[in-house]
């Protein structure tokens, strides 16, 4: 781990859908080994920022570096937990099978997941407390259990940098605490985590770094010094002001 190269470096990312800017000239440096939240109001571009860093959304401008290199060369360092609602949970497959999908790219073309992948997947399921549900069809799982399966799939990726999109959305308190425990444990082991979050009341308790985002990057840094009442007011109150100036309309 060298302390100088940031785990993630975003330069001037701009994303627009038709004429409306979703992200405007966002710069970000995430130091290695932090558990960082992206917070901001609805429509602030949190998910879009995450997806542009992962190369899932093509930005109009800007560049992304993962540990100083372009993303395409660093895919193996990346783990991703998409929003739970982004997939159809009635897909005919089991929890164990979904977790094994985290090993597919490592396996390479034409090779089937075997005993080793099964073992790794079972270990990951154990870490998220889902061993008993391994062979359950995924639509038979509760929201919290589905989220744990997604987390387990990221865990078998055994990555250095994790991206999580709203991992606490629609989950029960027990699951939320369990997920936070795992995220903190990953940080203790030197991993970097970037998490889209929207509950300001748990921000300081769960995270040590934060990016305040509202189309533009308002501020980024340690939670204690960054998420001040003035900065939060700027982030959450600023959007309507920004929009009125820019286009005088809806979000």
């Amino acid at each position: 781990m060298d302390g100088v190269t940031p785990a993630i470096r975003v330069e001037d990312i701009t994303v627009a859908y038709r004429e409306n800017p979703v992200l405007w000239d966002v710069d970000l440096e995430v130091p290695p080994g932090v558990l960082m939240a992206i917070v901001g109001p609805n429509g602030a571009g949190k998910t879009t920022l995450l997806k542009s860093i992962l190369g899932l959304v093509r930005p109009a401008a800007g560049r992304v570096f993962i540990k100083g290199e372009p993303l395409s060369r660093q895919r193996r360092l990346i783990g991703y937990v998409p929003q739970r609602s982004s997939v159809d949970w009635d897909f005919p497959t089991t929890a164990l099978d979904v977790v094994m999908m985290g090993r597919y790219s490592e396996l390479g073309w034409f090779r089937r997941p075997g005993k080793r992948e099964r073992e790794l997947a079972m270990q990951a399921l154990e870490r998220v407390g889902m061993t008993d549900f391994a062979n359950r069809q995924i639509s038979q799982l509760s929201g919290g259990q589905q989220q744990r399966v997604f987390l387990a799939r990221a865990l078998v990726q055994d990555s250095e940098i994790y991206f999580l999109d709203e991992p606490f959305a629609g989950v029960d308190v027990t699951t939320e605490k369990a997920i936070v425990g795992i995220l903190k444990e990953l940080r203790e082991r030197g991993r970097t985590l970037l998490v889209v979050h929207h509950d300001l009341s748990t921000l300081a308790e769960y995270f040590d770094w934060v990016l305040l985002l509202n189309v533009r990057a308002i501020a980024a840094g340690p939670v204690a010094t960054t998420a001040t009442p003035e900065m939060l007011a700027m982030t959450y109150g600023g959007r309507s002001a920004y929009l009125m100036k820019q286009e005088g309309g809806d979000g």
Binding site: K51, L54, G55, L56, S72, R75, R76, I78, Y80, P82, S86, V87, D88, F91, P92, T93, T94, V98, M101, Y104, S105, L107, W109, F110, R112, P113, Q137, R153, Q157, F163
Partner: protein, 373 residues
């Protein structure tokens, strides 16, 4: 059964059936992916869009060589698919409108070219009209070989990229984040679906081919929660429909194959939707009724228990209407179930009921269990 034996021993009929079985299997198996990726309607657009390709390929080459016609169908089916996504991306029209436009425009053009072809004096034109509703009996050995070759190629490709296709069908975003060429795999899978449709056009026809893609897949989904099983079952249902359709239409004159295949596939699907053990409507309804009844018997049992709780003789008969005093109406059928279970029995001629020893124990357990939780 004698007629059937004769039918099966006929080499031509056997060849045709082999072809129908394989095109049915391919369509059913790949149809599962179309279903899971919500591309069922795309299948309909593709098959209609293939018609001008078939007609133009014939017009240009003057031959009924199956490979030429399939290539034509493939090209225009693909062009249709590309147009759908181009329209969706660059205009404000939604995908369903784009599908509707492409389907009808291509089909219209196809019909026009077909009429032109039919006016030509050249030989072999008669075969082309069967592409509308399909006629398996027009299939020659070389047609069947083409189907076998392309169908097997599709299935081998499906097996080779199995885990990648599974991943991009379930979670394309995650697939892309791991560095898989998601767009390329998506295109490949769509191409396989187009191929599966195209090879069935002669036997099933452009109008109905998409049903053979959707129906067996939908039926198969009812029976399993494992992708591999669903795909194999989809293939099996497709093959069954293909063979059945070929047999029926061969045994009756002037019966086109396509509609028969589709009717068989639809009946299979209807049965699956109604009867499949876990996802079927009927078993679901029975489970629902059973669970309502279970709750109702427990409530009546508890009410009866409370009525007699302070009574020196807990097995004293009661008027069932007394249950209304505690806000419960005991349906006769529910009481009958309880009698069958041995929890209550009728006593005397007035239709009064009383708890049995077993019912008393069950009620205590039921109330105790509720108190504990």
């Amino acid at each position: 059964m004698d007629g059937l034996g004769a039918l099966l021993s006929d080499y031509t009929v056997r060849t045709v059936m082999l072809g129908c079985a394989l095109l049915g299997f391919t369509a059913g198996a790949l149809g599962v992916f179309a279903l899971l990726r919500r591309q069922s309607l795309l299948g309909d657009a593709i098959s209609h869009a293939a018609l001008p390709g078939v007609a133009i390929a014939f017009l240009l080459s003057g031959s009924r060589d199956p490979l030429v016609l399939v290539l034509g169908a493939l090209a225009s089916g693909w062009l249709g698919t590309l147009l759908v996504s181009a329209i969706t991306r660059s205009t404000r029209l939604r995908e369903d409108s784009a599908l509707g436009i492409v389907l009808s425009v291509f089909f219209g053009i196809g019909l026009v070219v077909l009429v032109i072809v039919n006016r030509l004096p050249s030989a072999g034109k008669a075969g082309l009209s069967t592409f509308l509703f399909g006629n398996a009996s027009t299939m020659l050995t070389r047609d069947v070989w083409t189907i076998c070759l392309l169908g097997l190629a599709c299935l081998i490709c499906l097996a080779l990229f199995w885990k990648e296709f599974k991943l991009i069908s379930f979670d394309p975003q995650f697939a892309a984040s791991t560095g898989l060429p998601e767009r390329m795999l998506d295109t490949t899978l769509t191409t396989l679906i187009v191929l599966a449709i195209v090879i069935g056009l002669q036997a099933v026809g452009v109008v109905l081919m998409s049903a053979l893609v959707v129906a067996p897949a939908a039926a198969a989904r009812q029976f399993s929660d494992k992708l591999l099983n669903v795909v194999l079952l989809g293939g099996l249902f497709g093959a069954m429909s293909g063979i059945g359709g070929a047999m029926l239409s061969a045994s009756m004159e002037k019966l086109p194959t396509g509609p028969v295949i589709v009717v068989i596939a639809s009946v299979l699907t209807l049965l699956a939707i109604l009867l499949a053990p876990h996802r079927g409507l009927l078993p679901d309804w029975f489970r629902h009724v059973a669970s309502r009844r279970r709750i109702e018997t427990q409530r009546i049992l508890q009410a009866l228990y409370r009525l007699v709780e302070s009574d020196p003789d807990p097995f004293r008969p009661h008027d069932p209407n007394a249950l209304q005093a505690v806000g419960l109406k005991a349906a006769r059928s529910t009481l009958a179930v309880m009698v069958d279970l041995g929890w209550v029995e009728y006593s005397g001629e007035r239709g009064w009921i009383r708890l049995t020893e077993a019912g008393w124990q069950e009620a205590r357990r039921s109330i105790g269990g509720e108190a504990a939780t």
